[in-house]
Amino acid sequence: MASIELRNITKIFRDAKRKRDLLAIDDVSLSVEKNEFLCLLGSSGCGKSTLLNMIAGFEKPTEGSVTVGGKAVDGPGADRGMVFQQANLMPWLPVWENVAFHLRLKGWRKADRRDAAQDYIDMVGLRGFENHFPAELSGGMSQRVGIARALLLNPQVILMDEPFAALDAQTKMDMQEELVAIWQKQRCTVVFVTHSVDEALVLGTRVAVMTSRPGRIRELIALDLPRPRDTTGPRFNDHKRHILNLIREEGLQQRQVAVA
């Protein structure tokens, strides 16, 4: 049984002020198997966040249905952990309380929350920063707190919206490695949004290349490359060439539409 099932999703944003509707997602169908690592790849504004928000339950599709684990999505829930494009930490809580926020909602005692948070804080390499407040963290550190917070939910599905976009090359590589290790250990399903071809190829078991607005799935590419991925190997670069070509064609078509 597929873990995430999108059936004929269309999303129209009604713009009352400008009296114009925006077709953000046009008839997307997609099924993500359990334990898959799907990368959504597409240019800025093509509807990647919108698609992710519909899986998370923050937005409702205008048409079509979303099911996760066989159940129709009708709102956000702790079975789907989300790592946001901005970290979105509670600024009034220290790092460990942010990580354990879910347990606070469940009414756990403070000492137990503190213990449970520690594992995940260690996992993302933030030991020593437990009592820092978000204002005292760098952008990359905040993003890692957001990841730890989503992992603590121990969700079946993890949704990530360009979580590493703000990180430097070295930290990004470390975090990617870490994420793959976590995914292999926890056996969860990941949907990972990115606009970096390399990142998609390093992480995914499959890559969904999206078209520019309105967002559709242009092509689904299965990656059967061994891990850790060799970014200089010929097969990696075959895939990369192929995807870059898709993106180039897409860009050309867009420009022709604009000229016509």
Partner: protein, 268 residues
Amino acid sequence: MTALSKSWERAVVPLFILATWEVFSRSGFLPAALLPAPSVVLHTWGDWIFGFDETSQGNTGRWLADALSSATRVAAGYGIAVVSGVALGIAIGWWRWVERTVEPTLQMLRPVPPVSWIPLAIIWFGIANKPAIFLVFLGAFFPILMNTIHGVKTADRNLIRAASMMGATEQQLLRHVVFPAALPSIFAGLRIGIGAAWMLTVTAEMVAVKSGLGYVLWDSYYFLRYDLVLAAMASIGLLGYATDALIKVLMSAALHWQHGSTLQSREG
């Protein structure tokens, strides 16, 4: 060292004013009764507080009782205003239907100056604590309410999304996200509110109550005791300053996370 020199800097202006005032009063330019010298005021004030030589006549040694009855009215009216203002403010900010049904009425009442309620307050509650408490409530309620609404409405929607992603119910959202997010704004309202509270206690005591600092102030005016009037004014100023300082302490304790530079919490 620096702290000491800083407190000196702060004292320079008041000391200068007091000294000039003292010299001016003693020069005989005005009749001494109209502008009592600071030393005279201090003497009367001292007697009002400690009751050593009855310069303050019937008020001798009664300062603490007067201050307490004013402070009690402030505490009662302000307490009611805080609880109702914050609760209603959160409801108005969060639920559209509450906003639509309640807010227009409140916005119409808001421009009516609290003092203009005095006649009705006396008719409804008589001459005692209640009309004063009512006025204090009115004065403090609206700034607290408005600031709470503002704080809720400007809460970061993404934090609410993050919390509901972690399974928060609506009640939990209000308690664990919306309320803390609105807290800086709520505190701004609390500080404006405490000023209004003191202002209205004193006003009410001048008209509708027979005790407290405001009553002593007005009563002394009838008896031409301007030294007592000044002592009462100084007492009110001092108490207002002290309560505001207390709120500031609470605020910096509750909002310590706002200072990105706090170093108090290193290692865990």
